[in-house]
Symmetry: C2
Subunit: 212 residues, 2 copies
């Protein structure tokens, strides 16, 4: 099964690489990174380059799609080759998935209308604009629609392990989990804004202003 | 503060990208990916290319080093330009850190002799060969030596959040955690071999044989 992970300028790298690393252990799956061109793509702050090895036209029939997010997702919300590709390939996939604000791209492709979905906590309002019903869940699986959306950034790891269970079986999913030693011990209870104080959110606002 | 993340052929991408994404939100930190040459580096199975933007010689004085692991780490255990660089820069860092089998590279550089350290569960014996005292912990912090080692793959996220607390403060660490929405919900209790049955480990052995 071919797993296509689209890359676009100013993506969040972990949105793509968390799922990639959980999926790449499973020999039934072959991951390809795809882009508007075969070229290097830089992350949101420009600090990292990732290679898109194939163009959208070269990957017309993936079994699985994993759309990452990041600030650059905003460039696609009015339509783009990426959005057109997601819309075109979805009818043939076994699973069309997103991490973080990747769900906005699924929304822009018209895939989430009237459906429950999730995204990064900072983009819930934007998701609703595409007709989705935002829910506060780490992973939202819609087996009938073959769509899975995951919450912010690191949630792609949780999503990908569940995806392996759907595509292969639960033994494979656990093998993927133990491979990446996903036995998390977050140092704080600070994974979501409703768990942290105003001081943390104020600092984050400063950081975002400094980085933009 | 400059954070240098070395890349080498056949690394595990998530070892590098988990910490990168937690650290890159903090404006006090500037991440640079470094390699033997300025060039693309491919991951263990060749499915992904990451760009090394600077050579080791161009990054002689990083404040922080994060060494990832992966099967390619084995190429360095008898010595390499990467090992020489780690040994040369460590005296000047505020923190020299590793994820997964990256700790074997710290060991090869002579940094772990007689010290407690961790690694991926599959490499504990190799770590001991470098004179380290392997401990079963997700993150091992040695403030006096300015060394932090993390366990397998996904543990780099936990490590990086703790590292932000050391380098900046705990508010910054929590801001990094909420940014990447690190509120994990692993789908199975299957993050370590002592949590899974023989069936899972047998499947993993099959997978590793198929991928090698």
């Amino acid at each position: 099964m071919q797993v296509a992970i689209p890359l676009f300028p100013r993506l969040t790298a972990l949105d793509a690489i968390g799922p990639y690393d959980a999926l790449q252990h499973v020999p039934e799956l072959e991951v390809v990174f795809v882009g508007a061109e075969r070229d290097e793509v830089r992350t949101e702050n420009g600090m990292l380059g990732l290679t898109a090895d194939a163009t959208f036209a070269e990957v017309p029939d993936p079994a699985v799609v994993v759309v990452p997010g990041g600030i650059g997702s905003r460039d696609h919300l009015g339509g783009s080759p990426l959005v057109d590709w997601v819309r075109a390939v979805h009818p043939g996939t076994r699973a069309t998935t997103s991490v973080c604000t990747g769900s906005l791209i699924l929304g822009a492709a018209g895939l989430l209308t009237g459906l429950p979905a999730t995204t990064h906590w900072g983009a819930v309002d934007v998701l609703a604009r595409f007709g989705a019903q935002p829910v506060r869940q780490r992973v939202v699986e819609l087996p009938e629609q073959r769509i899975i959306t995951a919450a912010g950034v690191s949630s792609g790891i949780d999503m990908a392990i569940r995806l392996v269970a759907r595509l292969v079986d639960e033994v494979a999913a656990q093998a993927a989990q133990v491979s990446v030693e996903y036995d998390p011990e977050p140092p704080y209870e600070a994974g979501h804004p409703d768990q942290v104080g105003e001081g943390v959110m104020a600092r984050l606002a400063e950081y975002r202003a400094a980085r933009s």
